[in-house]
């Protein structure tokens, strides 16, 4: 049941409508039932795995609270082994199977949202161990947290304490209105911006050995924006759907393409994953390696980005995606001091630094995303080698015809305008008064006009559904 389907919208409307009729004390149970019903539409057997993971985390939380210090560590490691072990098994199985058996390899479908609910449950157990959060004694609440259907497929990865303290969510007309606006904005980002850019990207990646360099370059940059629109659209739908149940989900993006460095980029991109890794992997590791100074920090950053790559999959191109980012972040950390000193000495160069840094960061990240988008390492290499080819003429290509390109650029500009101007307040302006009504009507009219006439004929899946 993808988020851009009528079925999902109907499911959401029905479950959110009924939620309002359910007595307060039964709402947690209702959320669990609705979330598992949603999961059953994808797979019944794998729902058992989600239940088992929840039960393990629940037991671990209670045990940790009751155990001695040594006992706590043992429970934590056993839980991590079970939860991360299951995640690693599903992430690695297909790649290892193909490596060992070639074309006769067995393929295993990874459970829906396994990366997300594993990280959510792990954060809960670690928080209990670190005494940052109390153990949850109500299994139903923890089950609602792990299985909450707007977040199960692709996050955001919300922390347990943040979620559980909101249960049962506060229902209000304002939340519903903000939810509706976010969902339509998410659909616009995905079905107009991302799907239009996919026209340019898909053709270049289909056969990078013959595509002219100019088109490859356009595809490399276009994919960064496509991925952003696709993923932030998905996140906005998830955040909007959560609001229907009175749950405020954390943000995942903060204008990442305006970042002045790769380090800053990763603080503003997929924020719930990177903050998870920062809190539970990077910071503890950095404490261990603090004696090594900047080199230690660089090493930690490198390992963290490698973990980001591996979180997406252990195939070579995802690992290279992590390595590429790790090198960028490590280099950025190591050179930060000398760079700052240089620009302090030459103050007149500072405006150039401020102007060029985002463009350079965008280019570096677009290059990194080539490894992300490619189906394997040779394809990524072919893309980079293709850039040395003759530029070629960009005409008669889907998505690059002048009129089509104009619509795409207008859609990107609209997306950025809305994100920059209203998105930070979750589009929660009031529609009272003439100006509020006009703004609301203009907002929807613009989105609907794009959704009606600006959608391409081919619809693609959400990129982040696969993780």
């Amino acid at each position: 049941m993808p988020f851009n389907s009528i079925r999902f919208i109907l499911f959401l409307a029905a479950t959110a409508g009924l939620y309002r009729l359910v007595p307060l004390r039964a709402r947690r149970l209702y959320l669990v039932a609705a979330s598992y019903l949603f999961y059953f539409t994808w797979s019944v057997p794998y729902a058992a795995l989600l239940m088992a993971a929840t039960a393990i985390a629940y037991m671990a939380g209670l045990r940790i609270a009751a155990a001695s210090e040594n006992g706590q560590a043992v429970v934590l490691w056993i839980t991590a082994l079970a939860l991360i072990g299951a995640l690693a098994f599903f992430k690695c199985f297909n790649a290892l199977s193909h490596a060992l058996a070639g074309p006769r390899a067995l393929e295993l479908l990874a459970p829906l949202g396994v990366s997300y609910y594993t990280f959510k449950l792990m954060s809960y157990v670690i928080d209990v161990h670190w005494q940052k959060a109390p153990p949850e004694r109500d299994l139903i609440s923890l089950a609602a947290y792990a299985a909450f259907f707007p977040q199960i497929m692709s996050g955001p990865i919300q922390r347990a304490s943040d979620f559980l303290t909101q249960l049962p969510g506060e229902l209000s007309g304002e939340n519903t209105v903000a939810g509706i606006r976010l969902i339509f904005f998410g659909l616009f980002q995905k079905m107009v911006v991302a799907d239009r850019l996919a026209l340019i990207v898909n053709q270049a990646y289909a056969d990078p050995r013959v595509v002219p360099a100019g088109q490859l370059l356009a595809a490399i940059y276009a994919f960064s924006i496509q991925l952003y629109a696709d993923f932030s659209g998905l996140t906005d739908i998830a955040i909007g759907a959560s609001l229907f149940f009175g749950i405020r989900s954390p943000e995942n993006f903060n204008d990442p393409f305006f970042s002045g460095s790769t380090t800053e980029f990763w603080r503003r991109w997929h924020m719930t994953l990177t903050s998870w890794l920062r809190d539970y992997a990077f910071t503890p590791l950095q404490l261990c390696w603090r004696g090594y100074g900047a080199a230690g920090t660089a090493g930690c950053l490198f390992l963290m980005m490698l973990a980001v790559g591996a979180w997406h999959g252990i195939q070579g191109h995802f690992l290279l995606f992590g390595v590429f980012n790790g090198v960028c972040l490590a280099a950025s950390a190591l050179s930060m001091g000398p760079r700052d000193r240089f620009f302090d000495k030459h103050r007149w160069l500072k405006p150039i630094r401020v102007g060029l840094a985002p463009a350079l960061t965008f280019t570096l990240m677009s290059a990194a995303f080539v490894f992300f988008r490619a189906e394997d390492v040779p394809q990524a290499v072919a893309i980079f080698f293709g850039l040395s080819r003759k530029a070629g003429v960009l005409r008669d290509l889907p998505g690059l015809a002048p009129a089509s390109l104009l619509v795409t650029l207008a859609a990107i500009a609209t997306m950025e305008l809305i994100r920059h101007r209203w998105r930070k307040s979750r589009l929660s302006w009031s529609a009272r008064g003439l100006s509020g009504k006009l703004l609301t009507a203009a907002y929807y009219s613009l989105l609907f006009a794009f959704l009606f006439a600006g959608r391409p004929l081919t619809v693609s899946k959400f990129i982040y559904f696969q993780f």
Partner: protein, 340 residues
């Protein structure tokens, strides 16, 4: 005064925005990217285009320029009374786009020509030839359309036109209910059939570029899903499997026609049968052994193949097929009823 809640206010603004956006999109499309307007068609039970009842559908392609007229059932041709009058000999033509007469005028399709020629040669009977063929019709659609519509008109003869371009494929032939479908497509098609009841549907089809675009988008999504499902359904199955299912479908049609007391005339495009030896053999044995059956092979050269050099829109081919059918009926079933 009581003011509406934020959600109610929001929904009324959404409704207003929908109208504004639709008007803006329509204007932009007309100005910058006009689309070919679509006929008031919908997708039928078989996933093929079907036309609305009592419609006039103008079709313009690179190859032909034709206007189709549909009767109150949505099939091509004139209306027929449900109750057959005494002295009437009724024929039902089941088939495909060739039987429908894609690309030729209403009166040039071979069922219409056959009706005209039978009546002009008739000594006493009145002849009616009902064309119940959808574009893209298959064995599955023939079986269904006879069961659902044809038999209610009490035909004396049923023509089953078998052209193997689409008579046998996994899209059309399944074991369940002899109708080709995966669940997803069935739901989509149900929706397509429903939309024709939207007030102003035909007007939208004939005048709105935005509507044409939305239909293209919907169709494109369905095509992608359908291609995937079809590939999945066909995976691992061989031609023999398909032919056996086709035989079961055709058998169901034949049994029903014969038990209704009508005769079944199989019109075979023989040139297309080569890839289906099992089915071909089955048809040959059936037509030789069963007195309910008649067969006419269309294999005598390009002039009697509707799908010859000129593909669908071969007016001469339709005339030849009507002539050969007339000749066969004069020699067999209607001997003595028609002028020699």
């Amino acid at each position: 005064m009581h003011s509406p809640g934020p959600a109610v206010r929001e929904f009324s603004l959404i409704a207003a925005a929908l109208l504004i956006a639709a008007a803006a999109a329509e204007a932009l499309l007309r100005a910058f990217s006009p689309l070919p307007l679509m006929s008031p068609a919908y997708t039928d039970r078989f996933g093929d285009p079907a036309f609305m009842a009592n419609s006039q559908i103008k079709t313009s392609t690179e190859d032909f320029d034709v206007t189709y007229h549909t009767n109150r059932l949505g099939f091509r041709g004139r209306n027929y009374e449900l109750m057959k009058k005494p002295g009437t000999y009724r024929i039902v033509a089941l088939g495909n786009c060739l039987t429908f007469g894609l690309g030729v005028d209403d009166l040039d399709a071979f069922p219409a020509q056959l009706e005209k020629r039978l009546n002009s040669d008739s000594l006493r009977l009145k002849f009616e030839v009902m064309n119940l063929s959808p574009i893209g019709g298959s064995l599955g659609s023939q079986e269904f359309l006879y069961r659902a519509v044809g038999r209610r008109y009490h035909p004396d003869l049923v023509i089953s036109h078998i052209f193997f371009g689409n008579a046998l494929n996994y899209q059309y032939v399944t074991k369940k209910d002899l109708v080709p479908y995966d669940e997803h497509r069935l739901r989509a098609d149900r929706m397509h059939r429903l939309v024709r009841f939207i007030p102003g549907y035909a007007f939208l089809c004939e005048h709105s570029h935005l509507w044409a675009l939305l239909r293209l988008q919907l169709q494109s999504e369905q095509d992608v899903l359908h291609a995937q499902r079809w590939a999945d359904a066909s995976a691992g199955k061989d031609s023999a499997d398909l032919q056996r299912t086709g035989i079961a479908t055709f058998d169901a049609l034949a049994q029903r026609v014969c038990s209704d007391g009508a005769r079944l005339l199989v019109l075979k495009q023989r040139g297309a049968l080569g890839s289906y030896p099992l089915f071909d053999d089955y048809l040959r044995r059936k037509t030789e052994a069963d007195p309910c059956f008649l067969a006419l092979d269309l294999d005598m050269g390009p002039q009697d193949q509707i799908s010859g050099q000129d593909w669908h829109w071969n007016r001469q081919g339709h005339a030849t097929v009507a002539g050969r059918l007339l000749g066969l009926l004069k020699r067999t079933l209607l001997r003595g009823e028609l002028r020699p």
